[in-house]
């Protein structure tokens, strides 16, 4: 029974992390784009009809945006395929929610002599699961485009799916080289393996072993999440809003959410695989062990807290980098986009897998632990 309760609690926490990060990203993106474009940005949300003399900014924007979206009229075009029209947003968002179930956001939480693994599901095939769930997102896009029975939506959907599957190969190859380094598919094991030190000083983070895979994964992940400079599926000046043209209200917000969750997932993956996940350098379960022999004991609860904070900070750093890229770079042309995926990322990915395999065998002990 306790196990069940723990499972429910961790599942709830994973889902809450996912939702909170998403909603926060909405606000960060609005404010961030305003910063880049020298505007003020979202500043109108206020309590009591603006009676408060000050702007509660973040809090109210967080509440106002979803509330506004959720209370809009829900429109299903008369010519649309009703069932598929309803199904598409659900399919877009559900697998992405579920992805967070296998993400480790901390080491262990010790309560009453019981060690709780801070990961909703300790799946041995974690990387495969993430890859599977992320690629299921294609269905939401293509079904949404098809069901609307609109030419813009359809073109957006087809473009989107072709783009997503093209970049998925590069993403898969990047992940293969990571698996070669760590010899496991379990995300929690990968995060733990990065707690070691290289030459007793540098944290053994994945970025030092697989820098090329990091670049590949980050670019391919951004293309998967269909955001500028890869936002061809919803290119406003050609396709209105692409596959989500005929959606309104909460369904539209679900497509928007799926975008932000994908941003978060890319950030989570880069954090977990290349930047130590929840690891704080030199922090172990009993406290800090600095190189040079200095040790500072830290209570276990504080250690857990530091780890979770470290994880979230890293995730937001990578989300912010993606937002910066989105608002800085112009959109690619479609043939450039496909050529980049197939002619650049794919060969580089293959070469990287081959190189890490050969190097790994040549220098036994070069990789991982």
């Amino acid at each position: 029974v306790i196990d069940l309760i723990i499972t429910f609690a961790t599942a709830l926490v994973a889902l809450l992390i996912c939702l909170q990060v998403t909603v926060l990203l909405l606000w960060i993106e609005r404010k961030g784009s305003a910063l880049i474009q020298d505007r003020v940005g979202a500043n109108r949300a206020n309590l009591l009809g603006g009676l408060l003399p000050f702007n509660l900014g973040i809090v109210n924007t967080l509440m106002a945006d979803p509330m506004k979206l959720l209370t809009k009229e829900d429109i299903v075009p008369a010519a649309a395929d009703r069932f598929l029209h309803w199904l598409a947003p659900w399919l877009a968002v559900f697998p992405l929610f579920l992805t967070f179930a296998v993400v480790p956001y901390g080491d262990v939480l010790v309560i009453g002599g019981r060690e709780i693994n801070l990961q909703a599901v300790d799946l041995s095939g974690g990387i495969l699961f993430v890859l599977a769930m992320v690629s299921l997102g294609v269905y939401g896009v293509i079904i949404g485009g098809w069901a609307s029975n609109s030419r813009y939506a359809f073109l957006g959907g087809v473009r989107g799916s072709a783009q997503m599957i093209s970049y998925e190969i590069a993403m898969g190859l990047a992940l293969v080289s990571v698996v070669i380094t760590y010899g496991t598919l379990d995300l929690q094991h990968i995060a733990r393996a990065q707690g070691q030190l290289m030459w007793g000083v540098v944290p053994a983070w994945g970025i030092f072993y697989q820098p090329i895979a990091f670049v590949l994964l980050f670019i391919a992940g951004m293309a998967e999440s269909k955001r500028a400079p890869f936002d061809l599926p919803e290119a406003e000046n050609e396709l209105v809003a692409g596959f989500q043209t005929e959606y309104s209200g909460s369904k539209m917000s679900m497509f928007m959410m799926s975008d932000f969750i994908e941003v978060a997932i890319v950030a989570v993956l880069t954090t977990t695989l290349f930047f130590g996940g929840w690891q704080v350098p030199y922090l172990y379960r009993d406290g800090f062990h600095f190189p040079g022999g200095l040790t500072v004991a830290v209570p276990s609860l504080l250690v857990t807290l530091l780890q979770i904070v470290s994880f979230l900070v890293k995730v937001f750093v990578f989300c912010w980098i993606q937002i910066l890229i989105r608002w800085s770079l112009p959109r690619l042309r479609y043939d450039q986009l496909m050529a980049f995926g197939w002619k650049k990322l794919l060969p580089v990915g293959l070469a990287n897998v081959a190189a890490s395999a050969v190097l790994g065998l040549l220098l036994e002990g070069w990789t991982g632990a």
């Binding site: 196990d3 723990i6 499972t7 961790t10 599942a11 979206l69 959720l70 809009k72 009229e73 829900d74 075009p77 010519a79 649309a80 309803w86 947003p89 659900w90 968002v93 929610f97 579920l98 179930a101 080491d107 060690e115 709780i116 693994n117 599901v121 300790d122 799946l123 041995s124 029975n149 030419r151 813009y152 072709a162 599957i165 093209s166 190969i169 898969g172 293969v176 698996v179 760590y182 010899g183 496991t184 094991h189 393996a193 309104s248 909460s250 369904k251 679900m254 043939d335 496909m338 197939w342 002619k343 794919l346 293959l350 081959a354 395999a357 790994g360 065998l361 036994e364 991982g368 632990a369």
Partner: protein, 134 residues
């Protein structure tokens, strides 16, 4: 220390529940939240429809005909086929990648042969122009 995918090396005696059962619980929770979100506008939003509102957006014009039966570039189909070929290649790499240290040079040679065949395939579709969009 080596880390393998077996659950035997798991540290911490956290949930001893079968991970797939835990995954089901997660899926149920996520599905529930997604479903609630889906129907939110139906429940909260007001509905004031009109014939024009339920028309498909076509830059302000009345929509011409239906999308069904409309043709679209065959390139998308080709991309999907190529994706299947190369994605399955990647899928075959995962089991090898997990235990590639045990397999050593023999496994690497096998995988190199497999990758070489697909590299030739990539070179071929490149030459033939299957990757060009115009």
């Amino acid at each position: 220390v080596r880390y393998h995918s077996s659950r035997g090396s798991k540290t911490g005696d956290g949930p001893t529940l079968n991970p797939y059962a835990a995954l089901l619980i997660n899926a149920a929770l996520c599905g529930l939240v997604a479903t609630i979100l889906l129907f939110m506008s139906r429940i909260l939003g007001r509905r004031r429809g009109s014939k024009v509102k339920y028309e498909i957006f076509e830059t302000g014009n009345p929509p011409i005909g239906s999308l069904r039966g409309t043709r679209f570039p065959v390139k998308f189909y080709l991309t999907a086929i190529l994706f299947i070929v190369f994605d399955i290649e990647v899928v075959f790499m995962y089991p090898w990648a997990v235990i590639y240290r045990e397999l050593g040079w023999f496994g690497l040679a096998e995988m190199a042969a497999f990758m070489a065949i697909l590299a030739v395939g990539l070179a071929y579709i490149w030459r033939v122009g299957a990757l060009e969009w115009n």
